[in-house]
């Protein structure tokens, strides 16, 4: 089990990687979304706000979500540290994402653009 602090670090790491990647920011300049990341086994909720290609992270639930990412703390930390891709936990049901199919696919692509091979 990961702690709230570990999830927070993983999400901060992901946020920095996203914002340091000029190509990824360019790719997502049209995609303004609120993404909630919620752990099922520890008290941990984060809000990502993606606006004009800039990603910001806030602790807690601070806006209405377009996408909600739900999983156990360990899986969340693994995904956003880049130790596992979201595809396998999504396929086996460990990771749930609530949102439109288009948004889910796009979020997967963003993760892979950061952590892909």
């Amino acid at each position: 089990m990961a702690t709230h602090e570990e999830i927070n670090e993983a999400l901060q790491d992901f946020t920095v990687s996203f914002n340091n990647n000029d190509r990824l920011r360019l790719m997502n300049r049209d995609w303004n979304r609120v993404v909630i990341v919620k752990a099922t086994d520890v008290e941990s909720v984060h809000t990502w706000i993606l606006k004009n290609g800039e990603l910001t992270l806030q602790e807690g639930l601070t806006a209405d979500p377009d996408l909600t990412v739900i999983s156990d703390s360990e899986t969340l930390a693994d995904i956003f540290y880049g130790d596992v891709t979201p595809i396998e936990p999504y396929n086996n049901g460990t990771l749930r994402i609530i949102g439109t199919e288009d948004d889910i696919t796009r979020l997967d692509f963003i993760c892979l653009m950061i952590w892909g091979e």
Binding site: R23, L26, M27, N28, D30, W31, T85, I87, E88, Y90, N91, E101, D102, I104, T105, R106, D108, F109, L112, M113, G116, E117
Partner: protein
């Protein structure tokens, strides 16, 4: 008579059956769509296994090639593995050979492919051979893989970047449920209106739109101005659709039988059926030799005034 069946994840509205003569061999070829029902496709493949001479898998790719690297789409592999006895192909073996040849023929013998022509491929990782051949001819390439698969408004313009992004994404994207990355079943009969509007400029700014027809159709805007479409599978209804949108010329890479051009998977299955060789022994040279004996030519249809 040899029997070839294409099982497609696509719409059953495109089902058809023809009997053709290929190099003196009579072939009964049929296509069965399962409307995106994956389990029905698995059952049907199990029933056909051992009963027909070759099976094509349509509406899904199994293998994607990026130069020498091969990636397998997991949902496609599951379908392929349901067939134990009959040779089963997805068209990717022939696609790489055939579509390169078509580009060479068009560049050599027509004025459709001039150096500098603006070509927009709706997706290119499913036909890397075509992408490479078009780039080699000197076309000004736009690869829309991220645009039309993930809705990301980022066009790739070089083979190097295409290869880099493909190698980064494909190892994992191929594990995603196929319906998330490609229109299957009823989605093939409709357009994604929001994206048609949002991404219309990619179509309008091109001289040639190339790639998978279901993707081309799903995102094509109105107001085309005589562009050329370079694809494989079309029906008479598809041709009417293209005319209505304002397309000027249609080039299909597979020949026409009974008013429609077949998918590459059907053609590859037909060639495998007449080759009488173990599937594992079939080479690119075998396909090239058969295409030569068939005096294969792309089909060019003028649609505009």
């Amino acid at each position: 008579m040899k029997r070839v069946v294409s099982v497609s994840l696509g719409s059953s509205r495109r089902d058809h059956k023809v009997i053709i003569d290929l190099l003196g061999e009579k072939l009964d070829i049929s296509r069965v769509g399962v409307d995106g029902d994956f389990d029905r496709a698995l059952r049907l493949l199990g029933e056909l296994d051992g009963q027909v001479d070759a099976i094509g898998l349509g509406g899904i790719d199994v293998y994607l090639f990026v130069r020498q690297k091969r990636y397998a789409i997991q949902d496609g592999l599951k379908l392929m593995e349901a067939v134990k006895v009959t040779p089963v192909v997805d068209g990717s073996g022939l696609k790489n050979t055939l579509e390169r040849e078509v580009v060479k023929i068009l560049a050599r013998e027509t004025d459709l492919l001039k150096k500098g022509a603006r070509v927009m491929m709706v997706s290119s990782v499913d036909r890397f051979g075509m992408a490479e051949a078009l780039a080699e001819v000197g076309c000004d390439m736009t690869f829309g893989d991220l645009v039309f698969t993930a809705g990301i408004p980022y066009a790739i313009n070089t083979m190097e970047e295409l290869e880099e992004i493909a190698n980064k994404l494909l190892p994992e994207i191929t594990k995603m449920p196929f319906h998330l990355i490609y229109p299957t079943g009823k989605k093939q009969e409709s357009q994604d209106e929001a994206k048609v509007k949002k991404f219309a400029h990619y179509y309008h700014n091109a001289d040639i739109i190339a790639g998978d027809f279901h993707l081309i159709r799903r995102f094509m805007p109105a107001g085309m101005s005589g562009q050329t479409i370079f694809t494989n599978t079309t029906t008479s209804a598809d041709i009417a659709f293209l005319k209505e949108k304002g397309v000027g010329t249609l080039v299909t890479t597979t020949p026409e039988y009974g008013g429609r051009s077949f998918g590459t998977n059907v053609m590859e299955a037909a060639l495998v059926a007449i080759l009488n060789k173990e599937l594992g022994q079939v080479t690119e040279q075998d396909y090239l030799e058969l295409l030569r004996r068939l005096d294969f030519r792309p089909r060019i249809v003028k649609l505009g005034a």
